[in-house]
Symmetry: none
Subunit: 210 residues, 4 copies
Amino acid sequence: MEKKLTRRQVAAQETRKKILGSARKLIAQKGFEMVSVDEIMEDAGLGKGTFYTYFRRKEDVLQELNQTDFFRLAETVNAMAEQDIVARLEHYCREFMKCIERGGIPLCRQWIRNNLSDIAMAGIADADGSPISKYRYDCQALHAVLAEGVRSGLLIPATPVEDLSLLINAELYGLMIAWCMSDGRVVGSLETGRFADLVLRRILEPYFPG
Amino acid sequence: MEKKLTRRQVAAQETRKKILGSARKLIAQKGFEMVSVDEIMEDAGLGKGTFYTYFRRKEDVLQELNQTDFFRLAETVNAMAEQDIVARLEHYCREFMKCIERGGIPLCRQWIRNNLSDIAMAGIADADGSPISKYRYDCQALHAVLAEGVRSGLLIPATPVEDLSLLINAELYGLMIAWCMSDGRVVGSLETGRFADLVLRRILEPYFPG
Amino acid sequence: MEKKLTRRQVAAQETRKKILGSARKLIAQKGFEMVSVDEIMEDAGLGKGTFYTYFRRKEDVLQELNQTDFFRLAETVNAMAEQDIVARLEHYCREFMKCIERGGIPLCRQWIRNNLSDIAMAGIADADGSPISKYRYDCQALHAVLAEGVRSGLLIPATPVEDLSLLINAELYGLMIAWCMSDGRVVGSLETGRFADLVLRRILEPYFPG
Amino acid sequence: MEKKLTRRQVAAQETRKKILGSARKLIAQKGFEMVSVDEIMEDAGLGKGTFYTYFRRKEDVLQELNQTDFFRLAETVNAMAEQDIVARLEHYCREFMKCIERGGIPLCRQWIRNNLSDIAMAGIADADGSPISKYRYDCQALHAVLAEGVRSGLLIPATPVEDLSLLINAELYGLMIAWCMSDGRVVGSLETGRFADLVLRRILEPYFPG
DNA sequence: GATGAATGAGCGTTCATTCAT
DNA sequence: GATGAATGAACGCTCATTCAT
C-alpha cells in the first residue's frame, strides 16, 4: 500500500522530476561545475530556494542523475545469446560505435568530461544491484560475454577473461577518445569491421578450442 | 654560452619551479578547478600576486605542466633504433604508461578534458614543423616506428601500418582513460607486460616475415 | 490595480532604493570609478552580494541613476504650453541647470564621460519611439519648443529653428561642461537669469514678429 | 652656470623625458586611470621600477604632463591685435573649431574625459605664471580679447566682460561636446560662420558704442 | 641610476546556501 | 511546499608600490 500519495506528495514528486530533468540536461550540456543551482531552477521554472527542499547540497543531484540516453547499449548484447562468441563481441563493438556516433562529437566529449571519475550512476547497477559507473558496467558486460563464452565451450577455460575484457573495453574507449581528439576523422576512416579483423579476432584466437 | 644567468634570473627560475611544483602537487591531489591560485602560492610560500609574474592566467600553468612533465615520451622511442620492432613498441607503450602515471590521475583527467579537441599545441610539431595536437603526434610516432619496421624488414610490406598505428594508439589512450575512469584500479592491476603479450604481439604477429 | 505588492516586494523595492541612494551619494562625492561596490553596500548597510541581486554589473547602477534622477526634464517644458516662448525656453534652461546641479559634479562628469558617443539609451525615445541618445533628445525638445513658437505666431516663419535649437542646446551643454571643468565655480557665479538675458533673449530677438 | 650637468644627470633627464612622453601618449589614448605604470614604462622601454626613481606616486606624472598638441590655439588670437573685435572673436572661434576637428572625434572625446576636472596643466599658465587648466586658460583668453576691446573703445565700458567671455566659451565648449555626442553631425552641418552670425554678433551687439 | 621580482590590498563578480515569508 | 531576497566567502585577476641587487 505504498501507492496512496496525497495530492501534495504527487506534486512534490513532479517537482523533483522537473529539477532532475533540468539538471540532467544542463549538466550534459555544460558539465556539473559549470552549471549553477540558479540555472537549473530557472530552467525548471521553479524558485531558486526550492532546490534545497529536495537536495541538501548541489552535489546530491549528481547521484540521482541517470546516465543520458546517450550510451546505453549493453542490453543489446545480452539479447542475442545464441550467436557465436566473436560475432557477439563484434556486434557489441559495432553497437558501441554506432551509439557514440549517434550522439555526435560534442555530446561525446561532454560525456567523457563528466565521466572521467569513477562515479556511480543511478540507473546503472551491477549484478548485486549496487550502482556503478558506466565504465565498470561496460567492463562487466564484456566480462559476462567472455565468461559465457568459456562456460559454453566457445573459449577454452584458460582464457584470461578478466584481462581480455579490460583490454577490449579499453580499445573501445580508446577509439571513442580518438574519435573526439581527431575531430571525427578516425572512426570514419577505420570501419569497425577492420577493428574486428585486425584486433578482436587476433586477440581471441589463442583461446579458441581445438 | 647562453648560460650566463644573473643571480636574480636564477632566483626567478627557482620561484617559477616552486610555483609549478606546488601547482602540480595540488592539482594532482584535487584537480585543477578545485585548486585556487591562493592555495598554490601559499603552498609555494609566495605572495599571491607573484603567480601573475610568471603566468598570465591560471590556465597557463596547466599547459606548462602538460608540456614539461606529463606526457612527453616520443623521443625515448626514437632513441633506441637498434632494437627489434616489438621490443621498441613495448618500450613505447611502457613509457607511455609510466608517463601518465607519473602525473597522477587528476592531472591526467585534466589533460584529457583539455585535449578532447584536435587543438594544436605549442611545442609539439610534426615532421614539417607545423604544430599538431598531442594525439596526432602520438599517432605519427607509432606510425614511424611501424614504417621503420617495414623498411628494415622486420615487418612484411603488406603490413597495414596506418590502421595498426591508429589501433595501437587507441588502445593506449583507452588504457589511459580506463585508468582515470576506474580511479586507478585498471593499469595497476594489469601490468603493461601483459598488455604487450596479450595484445601487442598478437596484433603484429601476422606481419612478421617468414 | 497593478499595485498589489506583497510585503516582500515592497521590502525589495526599498532595498533597491537604499542601494541607489548610497550609490548616488558616494558617486557624487568621489566619482564612479573611485567607489567600490563594497563601499556602496556597506553604506547601505547590506551585504556585498546583495548588490548583484539588483544589478548585473556595477555600471548598471550608473545608467539607472542617470535615467531616474539626474537629468530628466523635457517633460517639464511640455507641461507648460500656455506660456510665451521665451519664458518657456528660460524655464527649460533653468530646469536643465537645476537638474544637473542636483546630481552633483562627479555624477555629471561621469554622465558626460559615458555619453560622449551617440549611444541610444533605454528609456529615451523620439516621437517614433525608437530610442535615441540623451543629446538628441534634448535637441529635439528644444526644436519642438521653437517650432511650436513658430506655429503659434510667437516667432516669425523665417526663424532658423534647426540652427537655433542646436545652438541653444550647445550653450546649455557648454555651461554644463564649464561647470564641471571649473569645479562648480561657473554656474554658481552666473545665475541662469543672466544667461537668459545675455544670450537667450538676444538670440531670439530678431525672430519676434512685428 | 646651471648648465654644468654631469653625463649621468643628462642621461637622467633623458629618461625622465622618455617616461613623460610615453605617459602623455598613453594617457591621451586611454585616460589616466586606464593606463598602468607598467604600460608606461614598457612603452618607454624602461624597467618598471625606474618610474619610482622619478615620481613618488603615479599621480605625480599627471602634474607634469603638458597638454597635448591638440587644442592649443589661444596664441593665434593674440597675434592679430589690429583687427576689429568681432572679427577677432570670429577668428578665435573658427580656429577653435578647426583645432578640435583636426584632432578627430576620438581624441576630442578623450580630451574631454581627461579634462573634466579643473586640473592645472604644466605648460599652461595665467598672467602670473601659475599653471591653470585649459578651460580657465580659454576663458581668460576670451576675457582678454573682450577687455582689450573695451580698452580700445570697440566695446562700451559697461560691457559685462566677465559674463560674456564665460558664455562665449561655454558655447564653444558646447559645440565641441555636441560634435562628439552627435558623432560629428553637428559642426559639419552648422558652419562656424552661421554661429558667428546667429550668436556671436547678437550677443555683442548691445555693447557696440554709438 | 636602473631593474624587475615580489607583494598584498583591493577589485568586480559568482554562487551555494539560509531563512523569513 | 515554494519562494527569492540576503548573504559572505571565495574566486581570478590587477596594479601601485617596495626593495635587494
